[in-house]
């Protein structure tokens, strides 16, 4: 099968590889690059566990063709922390019991990051809307929503 070269930035580092025609971004990140933080949940864009940020916008990597990210910037949960220093979202998720089985967490974190980048002071409804594409089958939504709201508060406090 013909392979296509693709270059993109993954969590700030230049990445280049050959992908099969029709390969999706999720498989490319997981198997091709070895970033295992986005997860496979449904493969049809309904569960949100594979959410990554493409140029800051949340996208479902299972429905994104790898070839289409040529030249773009991708962020995943694997690059959220700065070494051992956790991102405020990660820290507050830990403190607020924002994960149970943990499978939806990487997708939730990406959706939350995109929301807070655009809207540093979201209402509860806006948080619910932002994570409405991400399913938590352990049904731990309340702590997740609380954690996102608490992070927004902390980040605003730090900026001000």
């Amino acid at each position: 099968m013909a392979k296509t070269p693709v270059r993109f930035t993954l969590n700030g580092s230049e990445t280049a590889l050959f992908v099969d025609g029709g390969a999706n971004l999720l498989d490319t990140l997981r198997r091709g690059v070895g970033d295992l933080s986005p997860k496979y949940g449904c493969g049809q864009g309904t569960c949100g566990t594979c959410t990554v940020l493409i140029d800051g916008e949340p996208h479902l990597s299972c429905l994104t063709l790898a070839e289409t990210v040529e030249g773009r910037s991708i962020e995943t949960t694997g690059g959220l922390s700065n070494g051992a220093d956790l991102h405020p979202l990660q820290r507050v998720f830990m403190e607020n019991f924002g994960a149970q089985c943990g499978y939806c967490t990487p997708g939730m974190l990406m959706a939350a990051k995109a929301l807070l980048a655009k809207n540093p002071n979201p209402s509860r409804e806006e948080v619910v809307e932002a994570i409405s594409g991400n399913i938590c089958r352990c049904t731990g939504y309340e702590p997740i929503i609380d954690a996102i709201l608490a992070t927004a508060g902390q980040m605003r406090g730090r900026v001000a």
Partner: protein
């Protein structure tokens, strides 16, 4: 956290209130991996040259397989191996065979007769998932479609199709005697005759898919020394290990199973059959093989919580007392047993719900139908019948014109009551739950109901085991020959009576077979309170173990706590007094271990040397 409310005013004297963890926020030990995306789920292990497995699945509810033609699939690009049913070394198993319960009824790959839509027939291993899918699509299976049955009661009709030849009556056989699980306590017919009202109801619940976000799967790869490593999403690692060893007819020492990080299970990953196929694939190809459900398979083939149907018939007095309750229950276990046989036993032990009812009878059937095999899910065996019981309580309240919460408080079991499965109720709290629920919901209850407590009013006469009517209806094989009623007591067989105060089947502890199976507190390090270390318990090392003997239970008049209100209050105080000094005692490194690590706060089981 903040939504939890501790009602410490209730049963305050029963509690040793030195909780170290409960009520305080704790950070989960695995959460750092979760928020950094580094928790190792089974699919987060990369292998060079990983092969992918897909199954050819039955499109029919019920069909005999005439032939399987895999020759076209063999020639498809990327295909490395096609696994046919005859390639499975020991192609018949049932999960609970590992604890010697039930007959082997399910093939890993079905080659004779499929009994549900999605039953796997052939497994294809190819270099990419796409190639495996394409090859699976060209496998030709010649089916002879058979009539199917999808309803539990239809499956019990004499002319219903036989779902599984292992169980030709379409029911799991209990105790090698009956086609259902029986519970008899007192005489429901007498109760119905005395009652002012008879209230009947029919309730049912559909199958429910656990739908974990991570679909079920496993990766197996050859390791050194002819072993296989298997990363799996299973919830029950040793079930998976034992099942794999049995199906593949290989010693479990050859299998290195790694699990523990599960992306949501909820019961659906207890009986997964991914590991045996992945290991078999790895053995046949010599390469790492991944077998994972896609979402459609997870929903269609992944074993759900089974459907249930319940008929409840109550005899109720005008004042709301329930004097008799009869259940007829049907668990839809799907085409194969998996864990349903056990769910029925669990559900029967739960009857008649948290209520003291002097006459109870139930017949519960584990019925085979041509639906997806059912398995565990969050309280399975209990959930459907609890839903039915509580719906029925509301119906009873309506029939006698009573406040439904007061009806529950009136009939609730209390400490010291005898339950239908012949165990005394202990630490009951339904009355208190009803009272708190009523106040939270602003639901007015009478002052009399509000003054009730679980600690009083139980025991005494309510602790007695009544004279019990038994019957032989529903012996294995009877139902198919002549249609007999499913409800308790309606069969034609002779009725017997078991004298009051008798447990029908004495429960005798299995004697330890080997010396090292004896739980010796001095060796295992289990701290025992002074009360537990009574001289009645023989010390294993000082005295030889006598074979267990059945001692007839004490007559019911003497057995339970003599003054009902006093006993439950007094006992916990005694216990608390005995336990508390032990908890406060400083750690003593000299006992009970002679070897191993003895530092406080360090597990005693990491010494690396084998004790004794």
């Amino acid at each position: 956290m903040s939504s939890i409310e501790f009602r410490k005013d209730l049963f305050a004297d029963e509690r040793d209130d030195t909780l170290k963890e409960i009520g305080k926020p704790t950070i989960r030990q695995d959460i750092l991996g979760h928020v950094t995306g580094r928790s190792p789920y089974f699919d987060d292990h990369l292998f060079e040259g990983l092969l992918h497995m897909r199954c050819v699945r039955s499109p029919h509810h019920h069909a005999r397989i005439r032939s399987i033609d895999t020759s076209a699939a063999d020639r498809m690009p990327g295909v490395r191996r096609v696994i046919r049913p005859e390639d499975v070394p020991n192609n018949l198993n049932t999960l609970l065979a590992l604890i010697n319960f039930g007959k082997d009824d399910e093939a890993l790959l079905q080659g004779k007769k499929v009994a549900y839509v999605g039953e796997p027939i052939v497994a294809i291993i190819a270099e990419t998932e796409r190639q495996a899918r394409d090859a699976a699509a060209v496998v030709r299976v010649d089916y002879e479609v058979l009539p199917h049955v999808l309803d539990v009661e239809e499956a019990l009709e004499p002319n219903a199709p036989v779902v599984s030849e292992t169980y030709p009556n379409n029911t799991f056989d209990y105790h090698e005697l009956y086609d259902h699980q029986k519970l008899r306590f007192g005489d429901v017919e007498k109760g119905f005759a005395e009652a002012d009202h008879i209230v009947e109801g029919r309730y049912q619940m559909s199958p429910i898919e656990q739908a974990p976000t991570e679909t079920c799967g496993a990766i197996a790869a050859p390791e050194t020394n002819d072993r296989f490593v298997c990363y799996t999403s299973t919830q029950a690692l040793f079930f998976s290990l034992g099942t794999t060893a049995k199906l593949l007819d290989m010693p479990s020492s050859q299998l290195h199973f790694i699990g523990g990080t599960v992306g949501g299970g909820f019961g659906g990953k207890v009986d997964s059959l991914h590991e045996p196929l992945a290991v078999l694939g790895s053995k046949l190809t010599g390469a790492p093989v991944k077998y994972i459900f896609d979402r459609a398979e997870e929903m269609q083939v992944g074993a759900p919580r089974g459907a249930e149907r319940w008929y409840i018939k109550d005899g109720v007095m005008n004042d709301g007392r329930i004097v008799a309750r009869q259940f007829t229950g049907f668990f839809d276990c799907g085409a194969y047993t998996r864990l349903s046989s056990y769910a029925i036993i669990k559900g029967t032990g739960h009857l008649p719900g948290p209520y003291s009812i002097p006459n109870v009878a139930s017949n519960v059937y584990c019925v085979y139908t041509n639906r997806t095999p059912a398995t565990a899910m969050r309280g399975f065996g209990i959930t459907g019948v609890d839903f039915s019981i509580e719906c029925h309580m509301d119906k009873v309240a309506e029939a006698v014109g009573m406040n439904p919460i007061e009806l529950r408080i009136l009939n609730a079991y209390r400490d010291g009551d005898m339950k239908a499965h012949r165990r005394l109720a202990k630490n009951t709290a339904l009355i208190e739950c009803c009272q708190v629920a009523a106040s939270k919901a602003d639901w007015a209850i009478s002052a009399q109901a509000a003054a009730q407590t679980s600690l009083q009013g139980g025991g005494g006469e309510r602790a007695a085991i009544p004279e019990t009517v038994t019957d032989q209806a529903g012996k294995i094989g009877e139902r198919r020959r002549n249609k007999i009623p499913t409800a308790p007591g309606e069969g034609a067989s002779a009725k017997g009576r078991v004298a009051a105060g008798t447990s029908v089947a004495p429960i005798i502890a299995v004697p330890p077979q080997r010396d090292d199976m004896i739980i010796d507190p001095a060796r295992t390090g289990h701290r025992k309170s002074a009360a537990e270390q009574s001289p009645a318990v023989p010390s294993v090392h000082s005295a030889p173990i006598a074979p267990p003997r059945y001692t007839p239970p004490t007559p019911p008049t003497q057995a339970p706590m003599a003054p009902p209100p006093a006993a439950p209050v007094a006992q916990p105080q005694q216990q608390a007094a005995a336990v508390q000094p032990a908890a406060a005692e400083p750690y003593k490194p000299t006992e009970p271990f002679q070897k191993g690590i003895k530092r406080p706060g360090v597990s005693r089981f990491i010494s690396g040397t084998r004790r004794r």
